[in-house]
Symmetry: D5
Subunit: 92 residues, 10 copies
């Protein structure tokens, strides 16, 4: 099933720079693993913002929550999830 | 270039039923033509709402505006456009 | 899977009274059939409002959308869907 | 009587890690005791967020406030309470 | 138990004048009966608005909903209910 | 004259614990003095929130502002004031 | 006492033109009478909007509500009232 | 002086088609006259919406209000005006 | 020309007390100088809030911005500016 | 293509003064380079706020994102991007 997810990242300005760099590096690896596994189907940058729009393809709400709450940047994110259904005018 | 578009449809309840049915039929044909042309890349229903999330792939803002303002349901829609950039963690 | 759904009903004051009464009667039958089928697990009135909070237990986003968009009052509702995951502190 | 409660947790990033871990552990025990006592009837995670939707069954507003303000995470939560009435279409 | 209720009245401008006058007259009688019965404890006009702030003292959410949904102006109102608990600094 | 006041308290989590405890103690004494003086007519807790709804009966806007800005917790509060007029349906 | 009032006028487009013209003419006379009486101290147009910002100087909330609810355009207005106190840095 | 203006057009769906067409034609002529006169310096379409962002260069708030309230579509517009000052980093 | 300005002051609780006191003292002197100069025409306290509503009478947007950005409390303020035009019903 | 961008700057009050001054100086140079290159076509101060409205003229969403995310003040900004299309009433 498909889920539309918007993530807004707000890292506190006084976070330790080493922690920050490490967290961002782990976030990238984590995101790429999930893309390769076919779970994280789309990942786009919202132009001008430290934010993304994504589409996930997973088995259940629980699987999605496990993925999202495991994001290294999760403690610094606002996340908004919207379940997507098939549109009657969509082809293929 | 990619654009994220959300459309919320609000057809007035006192619209003539014939006009309504005709408009919806033309909307469907219009949407499918653009999907076949590769312009309307994704079209998903927001679960539980008369609304969709779409991704368009067009040459310019002007082309996108021409497409959206030509939608048969455009007079009854709230439309929100977000330009999408490449995400540094996206693969492929 | 569980979905939290809030529905706010806004019937236009100039809707034909016969249409209104018939729609509300069909809504009630529809809601009770789904409760008996185990799909519509909880249905509560929000105190003081023509609105409800519900919990649905269905197989997929598509099934939920089919149910919600088939509600006789759907054209007069604002609907908001939130997917629910298991809480780590929940027992049983 | 039933109350719908949404809780959004926002723990400050610079909270002492020991205090954080202890608070979360006490929160879990507290929530499970109240579930066993039949006061905290439902507890669901909002998918993708550090938040929950709950339903409480208590005797009075005062009892609910005592429960909620006693949550170990209460100082770091936004809480929203909605009283629930019986819905005329609800069965059983 | 006490409930804080805000009611905003929005009567459609094209409502039949006779219906309007009759509804407002019935609303007044209804409100005064409930005040005399001790259910509607406070009723204040919000200065400059067609709106009121009220405090109700009733046995349950169900009783409050029955009262509010029975208001002759209910179809033209936005209603917001907040349950009130005892304040630790309140005297008497 | 009557004023409806809502106060939301947001004490910073890193405030010195001694300052916090002292401020809350002084707040309570201050609130009770004003209640005894008949100025602070009602004080209710909003269920589930560190917030209250109050009704003040004072001579003027200036007197109300002096009272509110003198609250020991004032620096940590969001305050919203609404002037209340007599309602035509209110009895006595 | 002084009150800051913002009024946004939203006349329905299908209001009878004669009623509209008459209402606007009566509104103007009403506003000018109150200005001459010293009650309506300031009246400014918000640039680009069918709206005004005003300052009233009246004896009580009740007097203000009587004035505002008597405005010929009152049924078509959103009104927001803010009580103004003396500022400690204001001279004279 | 420069003013940033956003205009959102919301023409009622039941407006007489002849009135609609005539109003839109007059709007276009009016807008082009002001552009030629150097008063309406920029006029851009917001992509996907029946709305524009404009910059006006006029002598005073009064002149701007006269221009905007004279727009043939003014009765069907939401207008938001923001005064623009010189930016210290702007060149020439 | 006249401008309506609302200022909401939010001084961080951990600002150095000496800096705070000095800033507030300078703010007062600055505000009184501008009132004496006829630039800051009205200054009212919003009852119950650390906020004011003001009216300025200056030559241009640039002059207003210079004044506002020079306020000693400017770094801790939310400021909202609305240009005011002459109202057709205003006398004198 | 043209993009309308609003930037609101919120520098934390406890940022090191040397870092602050250096960041602001680099921001100015960066903004002026882009203006000279014809990419940053307009830059206006929003009167009374630490914010600007800008218009960029770039080749793609990616180019705009690269520019904006490279702003020295980007970590302290809220940025909102709106793609601008040609308006049918615009001349030249």
């Amino acid at each position: 099933m498909l889920y539309h997810v918007r993530m807004d990242v707000r890292i506190p300005h006084d976070l330790d720079p080493g922690v920050r760099a490490d967290t961002i590096a782990r976030e990238k690896a984590y995101a790429q693993d999930l893309q390769r596994a076919g779970k994280w189907r789309h990942l786009w940058r919202i132009t001008g913002e430290y934010a993304n729009v994504s589409v996930f393809d997973v088995e259940s709400h629980d699987e999605l929550h496990e993925i999202l709450s495991g994001l290294p940047l999760f403690p610094y994110m606002d996340v908004d999830v919207t379940p997507l259904a098939k549109h009657p005018s969509a082809i293929a």
